[in-house]
């Protein structure tokens, strides 16, 4: 049976990740509540992406568990995915589709919210590009399109891997505002970034994976 929506908490317990014979991190534990953001820091290769993928449920931890509202996310499956949205290193958009077509597909894969696709594109500053082939957008515009996916489904937890890649100063500002608005509205965030992430209205937990290992 589905978890009651009041029980929204992401918890990691004794999480261990081994990659290519190296233990990236072990016995990692944290708790994330609505309104909070988890910022992962660390050198390249310290396991940030792997941890995010474990939180998504794409990657299995080598030990430990991730729970949502008390239940293991492996057992929840789609009931967990419906609450989450993930933007990874790769944009997750098709270059041979238009932004509108890309968002329509992304929306159909999750639980649609009330924002129209055009509104979502506007919020990431892609107004006017609705019907341009994504191939013809710049890298920064493609990245913003990928992030627009976050706005069209009813999701609580946003899991973002280097969301600000390819973005200019203005783009970063736009996205930071969206992230901040999300958490202050009760959403949750798990993000890695080389930049300092400016979220004025959010409680931030920081975990530095480089400091944890060794």
């Amino acid at each position: 049976m589905k978890q009651p929506d009041t029980n929204l908490m992401l918890e990691a317990d004794a999480l261990t990740c081994i990659r290519d014979d190296r233990t990236l991190f072990s016995n990692l534990a944290f708790r994330l509540n609505p309104g909070e953001a988890l910022v992962l820091e660390g050198r390249n290769g310290s396991g940030k992406t792997s941890l995010l993928r474990i939180l998504c449920g794409i990657r299995l931890p080598d030990a430990g568990a991730v729970t949502w509202g008390g239940t293991d996310i492996g057992k929840l499956g789609p009931d967990y995915h419906v609450h989450t949205a993930y933007v990874g290193h790769r944009d997750g958009i098709k270059l041979d589709l238009t932004p509108l077509e890309n968002l329509a597909m992304a929306r159909a894969l999750g639980k649609p919210n009330d924002t129209t696709l055009e509104e979502a594109l506007d919020k990431v500053d892609l107004y006017g590009f609705e019907d341009v082939l994504t191939r013809n957008l710049s890298a920064g515009q493609q990245r913003r399109l990928a992030l627009a996916r976050l706005l069209i489904t009813e999701t609580v937890l946003w899991i973002l891997d280097e969301p600000f890649t390819s973005l200019d100063v203005h783009g970063i500002q736009v996205i930071e505002e969206l992230l901040d608005r999300h958490t202050s509205g009760g959403g949750m965030l798990a993000v890695t970034s080389h930049h300092a992430v400016n979220l004025a209205n959010t409680t931030i937990q920081r975990i530095n994976l480089s400091e944890l290992s060794t």
Partner: protein, 227 residues
């Protein structure tokens, strides 16, 4: 998620893949050309004696169809894997097996159906009688979906690998053997004027089995390949 949104996701994904194929229309012809080319090589290789060609015709056309299907298989997941859309399917609130089914259906429409359409021409090239050509069409209609379904499992297992293509043939071709045997034999039998109900039932059984099991296996394989 209710079945309404599931149906919507299925249809939209199907439409998406067909749209993408249409935007690269030129590539759609490659498996087709391969099919015709390979079949045409046989008379050149073994001689043009009409009786001989008629005898080997069914098997040759079906082997060529197998190879053409194999060639086009990588396309099911390769592009989605590279741009990150494949992992989005795994993170969907819908069952992955249904999404896989949509993709396999699209793949069959794009690569399998054309083989069907051109097969009568190949039947004529190899001197098959009319009855046999009709049965050839039926076996291809029932069999090419099986090729896509079984092939999808193989592609899902190898999508993350660098030299995935080489291993794919090794994984998938042994699994194609029963279909090849039943289908080629059906066309052969039809050419002799005999009834082929048994053959067609067997092929249909394979299709039903593939339809029920392959999406699940493919979904499981995708989760493993993308972890």
């Amino acid at each position: 998620m209710n079945s309404d949104s599931l149906l919507r996701a299925f249809t939209l994904l199907l439409k998406r893949d067909l749209t993408l194929a249409m935007r690269h229309r030129a590539e759609m012809i490659n498996p087709l050309l391969f099919f015709v080319l390979v079949t045409s090589l046989f008379p050149l290789g073994i001689g043009a004696d009409p009786k001989l060609l008629q005898a080997v015709g069914p098997g040759v056309i079906w082997v060529a169809a197998l190879l053409a299907a194999l060639l086009s298989l990588e396309g099911i997941f390769r592009s989605d894997f590279e741009d990150g859309t494949l992992e989005q399917f795994l993170l969907s609130s819908h069952p992955v097996s249904v999404l896989v089914l949509a993709k396999v259906l699209a793949h069959w429409l794009i690569t399998g159906l054309p083989l069907l359409v051109i097969s009568p021409l190949l039947g004529v090239l190899l001197g098959l009688p009319g009855d046999a050509i009709l049965i050839l069409l039926v076996t291809l209609a029932l069999g090419t979906p099986v090729l896509s379904l079984i092939g999808a499992v193989g592609v899902a297992l190898t999508v993350g690998l660098r030299k995935g293509g080489m291993i794919l043939s090794l994984l998938v071709l042994p699994l194609y053997v029963p279909l090849l045997i039943f289908a080629a034999s059906a066309v052969d039998t039809a050419a002799a004027g005999l009834p082929v109900t048994a053959h067609l039932s067997l092929i249909s059984a394979l299709l039903v089995l593939a339809l029920s099991l392959s999406p699940l296996a493919t979904a499981a394989a995708l989760r493993i390949s993308l972890s």
